[in-house]
């Protein structure tokens, strides 16, 4: 609490000092465009190709995890875009991804606010993904022609689909995909690019006020940071970047589940609220109105956190119902997705307190409850309900609203 007060005081002082120095004359007229389009001297200032690239890399990794001919080495190279010794590799089928020096791994649990001085946890999280990838190859691939039973990896029917699970019923590919939504997309958005530590770094405010663009670019640094946040939710290949609500569901990550939550009548409109806040915040940067920008950051933290939390509860509840119907395959698929969304809770950011919604130990406790013993084979409805209730209690929705 004390630190918060000090930070608050410092913020007020900064604002006071800022207003003494620069004067309010610097605030430009606020122009909010209909689409996400911002222009300087006739050229677009919007750029987030790095986010598009990482989403595509994550997608290739997720699909390769279900291809039994893929080697462990190749999967790890897709995750890190380099070899175990750090050498240049070409693991992707898309040549432009091979040409890129970016990687998924480097941005997992890598936000400024949550992990820059928390590298022990960051390393553990990066390693969790590696262990799921390795276990897919060492536990699940060899048992692909076996029926899964409690304690034994193999295949299980989910309706007419086939799911490949470990001995606890977990699909590692789902663990990776859904956990990346938190560890990569949400963490980078809420705790990095929408962090004032990043937006206002070095001379960013002054440069933005004076429209000093980044070297060789059309955008100021601050504009670009904001766009990089935008790219993690609306930057998947195939999206109409300027009007993304028209093509929701273009990836298998944050964008897709934004679409799913938005389609639930209890949460209808959340996609538009997020899009409008991103657009208004970007317009506020152009107008040099940082208070307005920060209000949008609060809106974004609240709503994006809610998307992930709703989905975590949804899958735990759907899995519970399926298991009660003795539909184990269907239940395990739901629990596997739920596992990833629960893992993602760690990266959510409470707009009010400015802190994480869930601590590492809280999330670990939920995951342990889901996976102890024979995991999904054993987990009870009471356990699923208690985790669901705990998650929902941090937000303004009920288990019932999220769960159906």
């Amino acid at each position: 609490m004390k630190t918060i007060k000090i930070i608050a005081l410092a913020t007020i002082m900064t604002l006071l000092l800022g207003s003494c120095g620069d004067g309010i004359d610097d605030i430009n007229e606020l122009i909010v465009p209909i689409n996400y389009e911002f222009v300087r001297d006739g050229a677009s200032t919007v750029s987030f190709s790095g986010q598009t690239t990482r989403i595509s890399m994550a997608a290739e990794l997720a699909s390769a995890m279900q291809d039994f001919s893929t080697s462990q080495e190749a999967l790890l190279e897709m995750y890190a875009n380099q070899s175990a010794t750090g050498a240049e590799v070409n693991p992707f089928s898309d040549a432009s991804l091979n040409a890129s020096t970016k990687s998924v791994r480097s941005k997992v649990a890598a936000s400024r606010d949550f992990f820059s001085s928390n590298t022990v946890e960051a390393a553990e999280i990066k390693a969790d993904f590696e262990s799921w990838i390795i276990s897919q190859v060492t536990e699940v691939f060899p048992n692909r022609e076996e029926l899964a039973t409690a304690g034994k990896a193999g295949q299980i029917a989910d309706g007419s689909s086939v799911r490949y699970v470990n001995g606890k019923g977990l699909e590692y590919n789902q663990a990776v995909t859904k956990s990346l939504i938190g560890a990569l997309m949400v963490d980078q958005m809420l705790n990095n690019y929408l962090s004032t530590a990043v937006l206002d770094e070095a001379s960013n405010i002054e440069d933005n006020n004076n429209e000093v663009v980044a070297s060789g670019k059309t955008y100021t640094n601050m504009e670009h940071k904001w766009d990089e946040a935008y790219g993690y939710i609306f930057g998947a290949d195939g999206t109409d970047f300027t009007n993304p609500l028209a093509t929701l569901g273009q990836d298998n990550f944050l964008n897709k589940y934004l679409s799913r939550v938005d389609n639930d009548t209890d949460f209808a409109g959340i996609a538009s609220e997020i899009y409008e806040a991103l657009k208004l915040g970007r317009a506020a940067i152009v107008a040099h109105d940082y208070d307005l920008r920060d209000e949008q950051i609060s809106t974004l933290r609240a709503n994006i956190s809610k998307v992930v939390a709703v989905r975590a509860v949804y899958y735990l509840q759907q899995g519970k119902l399926a298991k009660e119907r003795n539909d184990y395959g269907g239940a395990f698929h739901d629990f596997s997705e739920g596992f990833g969304f629960v893992y993602s809770l760690r990266f959510l950011r409470d707009a009010q307190s400015d802190e994480a919604y869930f601590s590492r130990s809280e999330v670990d406790s939920y995951l342990t409850q889901l996976t102890e013993g024979n995991g999904f084979w054993d987990v009870t409805s009471a356990t699923l309900d208690s985790i669901s209730e705990e998650i929902a209690s941090r937000f303004d929705f009920t288990v019932e609203q999220a769960g159906s």
């Binding site: 692909r144 295949q155 209890d266 119902l321 395959g329």
Partner: protein, 370 residues
């Protein structure tokens, strides 16, 4: 929470109706004095068990015709084999919707009728010999669709098919597929005859796990997914936006897709109307249940009548399509789409109006798709 507009309309109507009632303080639940146990009894003894008995016997005929064929393989015997295959496939349409008890536990429908078959997987199984037909990954390499491919699509001419079927590895695969279908059918029938019938009839309450609630859900699921979507909607491209003629039931035999559809639709109607399997009597079923609720509550809406009238439209639309759905999709898909529309038009009265009246909750959701 997903609430369809139709259900909102229905509930609003109910609320309005209630508020005009003499006793506005009463619960909004409809009066239900119907004896579900009697209905379950009729379902088990006059529809479900006789259907499975006929199915088991149709598969025994297929098995013995297969033995005849392999004793002296020739085109005549191939045609006999095909006839018994078709008869068994048609009889399957009578039992497919009863996905309850052992049938549900062993995923009977998935091991019996997932189409299209994965032809590459069938050939790779034949070559490797150590295939395991109990794996879900082999759903689409067995059952009637796989036999459809082997009996009709394995080569260009009947003479060549006879020859291909008699290769040692192919013969053992065909034998394994037929034996498995037969064993699965017997497992389910035996279960009904050795205790499950009583369990089913005694479970006559009204809750998510009650036999009526479960079987009515199975019936609706079957109507929506297996009849409306799989047999008609998917090949016609209703969901994908592109016509998919190669996704019809009975792809390789070609000419039986309409017959299979009609048999399935007939089974659905018979179940709803309480037509006994032997055709000799009309018993207690959903139609009577709905009529009973209507009488007890003096309501004007004739839900059963709406459903039956709509199904007459389905029959008219089905009369317009050819024997081969594949050809129909390619040549004039609008007739397939029209058939789909008529099937779809019965979904709301069935899934919303009927379930509300019978106070049954839907226990399946639209698949997430991922």
């Amino acid at each position: 929470m997903k609430i369809s507009i139709a259900s909102i309309c229905f509930f609003s109507l109910m609320v309005i109706a209630m508020s005009c009632d003499d006793n506005p303080g009463e619960s909004t639940m409809l009066t239900d004095n119907f004896d579900r146990g009697q209905m379950l009894d009729f379902w088990a003894d006059e529809i479900i068990i006789p259907s499975y008995t006929a199915y088991v016997s149709a598969l025994e005929n297929l098995d013995s015709e297969m033995t005849n064929f392999y004793a002296d393989p020739n085109v005549d015997r191939l045609n006999n084999l095909r006839s018994t295959w078709l008869e068994a496939y048609l009889t399957w349409q009578d039992v497919s919707m009863f996905d309850i008890g052992r049938a549900e536990e062993i995923s009977l429908r998935n091991f019996t009728n997932i189409y299209p078959s994965d032809v590459d997987l069938i050939h790779s199984n034949i070559e490797r010999r150590d295939y395991n037909l109990e794996l879900p990954s082999n759903f689409d390499a067995q059952g009637f669709p796989a036999l459809d491919y082997l009996f009709f699509g394995l080569a260009d001419s009947d003479i060549e098919i006879v020859e291909a079927l008699t290769a040692d590895d192919v013969e053992s695969y065909v034998t394994d597929l037929v034996t498995r279908l037969s064993n699965l059918s017997k497992e389910v029938l035996t279960d009904w005859n050795s205790g499950f019938r009583e369990e089913f009839i005694d479970n006559s309450g009204s809750s998510a796990s009650a036999a009526t609630d479960k079987l009515v859900n199975d019936f609706l699921f079957y109507y929506e997914r297996n009849l409306r979507a799989a047999k008609v909607g998917i090949p016609a491209g209703v969901f994908s936006g592109t016509e998919q003629p190669n996704l019809v039931e009975g792809l390789y035999s070609q000419v039986y897709s309409r017959e299979l559809f009609l048999r399935s639709f007939e089974a659905v109607q018979d179940f709803f109307e309480g037509q006994s399997y032997d055709g000799q009597q009309i018993g207690v079923s959903l139609r009577q249940y709905l009529d009973d609720i209507r009488t007890s509550n003096a309501t004007d809406v004739d839900i059963a009548g709406l459903i039956i009238t709509q199904w007459e439209e389905v029959d008219l639309a089905a009369a317009e399509v050819g024997d081969s759905f594949r050809e129909q999709v390619i040549e004039d898909n609008s007739k397939m789409l029209a058939l789909y529309d008529q099937l779809q038009a019965a979904v709301v009265p069935l899934k919303v109006d009927m379930l509300s009246a019978l106070n049954i909750q839907v226990d399946f959701v639209d698949a997430d798709g991922d």
